[in-house]
Amino acid sequence: MGRLVGKRVLVTGASSGIGRAVANQMAAEGAVVACGGRDAERVARTVNEILAEGGKAVAALGDVSDETGAATCVASAVAGLGGLDAVVSNAGIDAEVWPDVADWNIADFDRIIATNLRGPFLVAKFAIPHLLAAGGGSMVQMSSVCAVTVWAGDCAYDISKAGLNMLSDHIAVEYGARGIRSNTLMPGVIRTELHESVMEAMNDGRALERELLTRHPIGRFGTVEEVAEACIFLCSDDAKFMTGANISIDGGYSRV
């Protein structure tokens, strides 16, 4: 028996990486999934993967950093699923150059905050009424170990994820009595397309990767499947007393 049978879930950033795995694995647990993303073809890839496995999925297109994009994304999910029981705000981007604070490009800073922090806020703003209409639900904010540790040079990303944790806490506190739970997942380094592209773009990417590995006591990077598992747990009824929690899934990174 699936752990999410009949649950209507929106996963943003479902085109690739963690979001794609979350969407697929949630569908395998019986959830009906709206796959969020900007690029119709890339989102269709995830939707088709789910359909091919006999699951049920629809696309929910829209750029969540933009007000109308976030509204379209949520409205598509609600229209396609007939309502919402859970939301995984996963869409995120990172910079490809990591200077110190004074050297940060303002447009890059704004772009990262817009997708990583404003986006989840907008998705929450538009999705919460639907979760309330369903009698409550679960939200998972895809944060990062970077919310609580500094990776020198990547201030916008770290700030966006720290802010995201507080957004999650606000939802937990403000809507707890009305049946909405909100938790964050804080992954360490996970092998994804985003991670690979950032490492590829850097001159010293591979050296950096070796250094990053030393920060994971468990001795390896994580997989998208492992993050998806935690996500399923948080959206399932097994986690019904968990809200306002920030959960590390980082191979011990945050303890070192």
Partner: protein
């Protein structure tokens, strides 16, 4: 809707969903005739992808029409905005219906025009519907969908009105464009028809009424221009659009239908006959 999903239950063999959601793109869906069409199609069980350039109006209409009304902010004079609406529709189900409804009031006689004004009016009123038709048939043929398209023209597409140079020309053009679609894509099971409303009470019509006159009085006078003695309501157009899109109209294509209270039957404004 959730019942259609055949979700995995009890470890039984999973079956693919039997029935996919049907989606319609309706342009200019936030207000007036477009809004009435959206409401009617939603009542038919169709998901409406509501393309409109006014986010605030979309939000109000979404609140009223509920979850099957999916707002997409965009401008029909921009090709890629149609593409975006089509993407959203295809993401949700089968893009089976397309309603080219968006329009603007565009008064002015020929001598009052400039190249820029003619271009602007034509871009929305004519290109908007033509972009919509092109993208609709591309998507439908690619997916093998036997779709149906309705273009909202106007009685101004067949009859000249005073000082409506660009509007009338564009409304005539979209009738012909829609016929062309009907001809070319009939072998692929796609139908296309035009609807020609007369004077319908909409927010756009309000803007055309004489300034300073009481609105009800102005509408009453406007209505007297029609043999029925009244203006039409958006819902009266929506009923026809719903029918033309549906399989009930399976042999109707390349045709034009007026919804004008018999306005275009009359050449001269004689008084009503005595009974």
């Amino acid at each position: 809707m959730i019942d259609e999903f055949n979700v995995l239950a009890g470890g039984e063999e999973i079956s693919r969903p039997q029935q996919q959601l049907e989606a319609a793109v309706v342009t200019g869906a936030a207000m007036g005739i477009g809004r009435a069409i959206s409401a009617r199609l939603i009542a038919d069980g169709i998901i409406v992808i509501a393309l409109d350039r006014d986010p605030a109006a979309l939000e109000l209409t979404a609140a009223e029409l509920g979850d099957s009304f999916v707002p997409v902010v965009g401008d029909v004079s921009v090709w890629s905005d149609h593409e975006h609406a089509a993407d959203v529709a295809e993401g949700l189900g089968v893009l089976k219906y397309w309603v080219n409804n968006a329009g603007i009031d565009f008064p002015g006689a020929a001598h009052e025009m400039t190249a820029e004004r003619i271009e602007r009016g034509t871009r929305v009123l004519q290109f908007g519907a033509m972009f919509g038709c092109s993208i609709a048939v591309s998507r439908m043929t690619e997916a093998g969908t036997r779709g149906s398209i309705v273009t909202i023209s106007s009685i101004q597409g067949t009859h000249a009105f005073p000082a409506y140079y660009v509007y009338g020309a564009a409304k005539a053009a979209v009738i012909q464009a829609t016929r062309s679609i009907a001809l070319d894509y009939a072998p692929y099971g796609i139908r296309a028809n035009s609807v020609l409303p007369g004077c319908i009470e909409t927010p756009m019509t309000y803007t055309t009424l004489p300034v300073g006159m009481d609105r009800d009085e102005a509408l009453r006078r406007e209505g007297e221009l029609s043999p029925m003695g009244r203006v039409g309501q958006p819902g009266e157009v929506a009923e026809l659009v719903s029918f033309l899109l549906s399989d009930k109209a399976s042999y109707i294509s390349g045709a034009e239908f007026t919804v004008d209270g018999a306005s275009t039957t009359r050449a001269f404004q004689y008084p009503p006959i005595e009974l």
